[in-house]
């Protein structure tokens, strides 16, 4: 099952390489919506943790069990974002996140062709997440 909020607690943890070194972290997201985009309709700006901003060049996206770069997603118009599971944003950050509290934000949305084209633009001045009823694009999580 999913949490109501856009950012999911489940899945939030550091990522390690085969040598056991922390190479980054991941955070789960979902669309609180009645439809998911084709992957090429996903728009992403950044994940920000405790004020440190990570753009698309530092992230990959695990959607439906498959890992994509942002550029790969923009070309994938035949795979659908699964609404019933969280997608994981994997963020490159050598050393990972320290144990303790972290304030995490994610800025992303979907393109919807049934809405006016004006709404396709990303507005960096406000949090995004796919639908106006989304209750959380920023949450505080704990790394153990």
């Amino acid at each position: 099952m999913l949490e109501m909020e856009a950012l999911q607690y489940k899945g939030f943890r550091n990522l390690y390489n085969d040598a056991g070194e922390a190479i980054g972290f991941q955070v789960g997201i979902r669309f609180v919506n009645y439809r998911g985009p084709w992957l090429s309709q996903f728009r992403f700006d950044n994940v920000t943790v405790d004020g440190e901003r990570f753009g698309a060049d530092k992230c990959s996206f695990v959607v439906g069990g498959i890992e994509y770069t942002y550029e790969e997603m923009l070309k994938e118009g035949r795979a659908k974002w699964p609404l019933n599971e969280a997608a994981m944003i994997r963020v490159q950050k050598p050393g990972g996140l320290a144990s303790g509290n972290h304030v995490v934000s994610a800025y992303y949305k979907e393109i919807a062709s049934y809405l006016p084209p004006r709404l396709d633009a990303m507005d960096p001045s406000r949090p995004l997440g796919g639908h106006e009823e989304n209750t959380g694009y920023t949450r505080e999580f704990i790394i153990v």
């Binding site: 009645y34 439809r35 118009g77 659908k80 609404l83 019933n84 062709s113 006016p116 009823e133």
Partner: protein, 291 residues
Amino acid sequence: MAKTQKPGIHRGVSTYCWYPLLNVNMDLEDSFQIMQDMGASGLEILADGIIEGYPYPSNAWLDKWFGLIEKYGIVPVEYGHWVESRVYPGRECSLEESLEQLIRDIKLANFLGFHCMRTKLGVIDETLTPVKNWREIIKAALPYAEKYDVVMLPEIHAPTKLKSQMIDDYCQFIDQEKTTHFGFNIDFGVFQDKNVDGTPRRGGFFGEPSQPEDIVPLLPYVHCCHAKYYNMSEDFEETTIPYRQVIQLMQDHGWNGYLLSEYEGPKKTDLYHCMTQVHRHQLMLKNILGE
């Protein structure tokens, strides 16, 4: 009207009523059980949010679907889907790319047992004018809709007016093609004349609401409706839309089909609120229809 359906107006529910709660507080079987509780047998799904693995569901999911349909006596009425025009950055989909989406959905809707499709086309402006080549797209899909026994229905939704060029264009197309496989789903929000707080709803983005009688000349083209509700009172009345007038006109003119509850009011993430509102709405429809 679905071919297996008895004459008259019937009650149904769109899963839109509780979409934020799905996969959080409830699943598809819960939806079906609630519909059975209310005696609302007609179902609308939003395909890509309900069909696991959409557009290629697994055999396991299909087995679950048909099992639940039978167990709860659900009638698949309307299959909600989108023909996306802005799939790739910087360009509009070609006719072939649009048709690929639409034909795939026609086949899937048919396989799952639906006869109506809420076909949402891409739009090009603030008043939701469809893509310029909508006639080409729909015309090319008509033979598939005939073969697979479905009717494609744009949802006529505020701020669109029932008296408007867009509606005239659609009617002209239907008459020219002499087709029964393209028509309308009228969203009752077009009649909304009050806000949830009781103040009149006039001007601004939505302009003047359509009048109840505006639906009459369109009824031959209407195959099902989104019975939109924003605020159900404790005495089982919708406070923002002139429901009784609209349904009376539909009954007077012998319309047959499903009214599908579609909640678009506040607190959609509140399970108790959504359940209370949908039960009140279904009881209002039951009262009006004289069941």
